[in-house]
Amino acid sequence: MKPGMARPSLQELAAGVRSGSTPATALVRESIDRTDQVQPQLNAFLHLDRAGALAAAERTARAIAAGIPAGPLAGIPFAAKDNLSTADMPTTCGSRILENYRPPFDATVISRLRAAGAILTGKTNLDEFAMGNTSSSSAFGPVGNPWDPGRIPGGSSGGSAAAVAAGCVPFAIGSDTGGSVRQPAALCGITGIKPTWGSVSRYGLATYSSSLDQIGVMARSASEIAELLGVMMGPDPRDATATAPAVTPMQLLSVDVSRLRVGWCPGHFRGSTAGQESLETVRSAIRQLADLTGGLEEAPLRFQEVLPAVYYIIAMSEASSNLSRYDGVRYTTRSERDGDGVDAMIVRTRGEGLGREVRRRVLMGTFALSAGSYDQFFAQASRVRRLIREDLLACLASVDVLALPTSPTEAGLRDSESDPVESYLGDQFTVSANLAGLPAISVPCGFTQSRLPVGLQLMAAPHREDVLLSLAARWQEVSDWHLRSPAP
């Protein structure tokens, strides 16, 4: 994982660890050194557990030397977004209100990866409570993009994306409520997937919007992601929504893509001038998909203009309900100012502990759910949600995969304070997969003139991660965008 050099794949690293040729301790030490090197510029990590990760690597090395069978990810360092519960590390969600919180347990996805041998080195920075697409609203400072630290890495899983792109870890876990894995993956030049709603357990994920949240993963390539989903997917008695069966990496890469019909929607390419270059790059990648597959078809999708409004009404409404748990009673932080009883304590604690965008979303969600507005906003958005889902499923009955941009623009400058509504439109291409529960992946497909990465998004029918990963892996056989690294 030396900067500027070709980095071995996760499978190559794992094979090296298992055969004894690469000690797990060397991988973990390299990961920690690289993280220490880039952290001052990128602020990608909120917590780095040097001693714990090295101790885990030493245990792995000893077990392998003793001939004890190693898991498929033995010795591989990884990072997780700081809204995933970890018993041995803080879990702040990028918020003051959880600054001192220590979960009593590991999220299911963390315990599965650890059981497969992977070594968690640290927790990554994010937009506070995953609410944003810039990774700038963290209470612990903004994240930089490894391709240009003066620009945003995307969000909300921006720390995870930056950590993978900068070569700190071969993979990182994120969560995706409206594009929070795919959009930062696109803006940082790596591959990121949001699986089908209900296919990766969310036990231990700090909830933002229950009907939209999904845990996803980022790595450089689709074949590495297949390896990881083989560990992450599958039912969990602790999450009643996690019902999809487990799959093997081989199954996930087994689709013959030469017969796939690829749909694209001309409406997605009538963007603003700001994003013209990105959109052109994606359009050209889609033309190239024609040669790898059974061909392209126009897929006119409806409701595209109302997607962001539908999404934000539902996400904010669910957030207002889910974040009511941060009340100064259970999760460490309580306002120091006293007097006036329990209600005033709750209000003060939330006022002091929650950041501006989080308060804004809780407030607007409360409004959309309130007696006079419920039908006009929350219920209406939920009715349109059904129409959006039906339209997408109908489209995905006539084509196998939809190809579209991940982000409407390249990574923007970090210091630009934009109007909230304007920033919400950055999610216009990603939210439909969450509203409809579909799997979607972002793969690198080129660069803009400013040498910033562009992502191509692929979306498939529910539980067709195999279609996405097989096509993405084929794309990565004929392109090398995913292998490019930012300057050290």
Partner: protein
């Protein structure tokens, strides 16, 4: 008065503080108005006869709709773990400021 009665009620419902100075109140009112305008796009869709969809599991995976586990006792977190992050506890309960005077 710094904020409208509607905004004050909304802050109370959301258990969030009402802005104390005029500048913050005006900024919040402007944010709310902007986002409301953005929300109102959903009114443009004709949804007569359409049922709301509250989560995407319903027809993607029919057998998973409102799935419930068997009603049998199972382990949950031990009490000390549940209370370990509480800002106020007596070892058996969460403690909060006095509710009744």
């Amino acid at each position: 008065m710094a904020v409208s009665p509607e905004l004050e009620t909304l802050c109370q419902l959301a258990r969030l503080p009402v802005p104390e100075n005029l500048g913050d109140a005006a900024a919040l009112a402007a944010d709310v108005a902007g986002i409301l305008g953005f929300f109102s796009a959903v009114q443009s869709v004709d949804t007569a006869g359409v049922l709301p969809l509250y989560h995407p599991g319903a027809s993607a995976f029919p057998q998973s709709s409102a799935r419930l586990r068997e009603d049998i006792p199972a382990d949950s977190l031990p009490l000390e773990m549940v209370l370990q992050n509480a800002p106020g506890t007596d070892g058996a309960f969460f403690l909060v400021p006095r509710v009744l005077s």
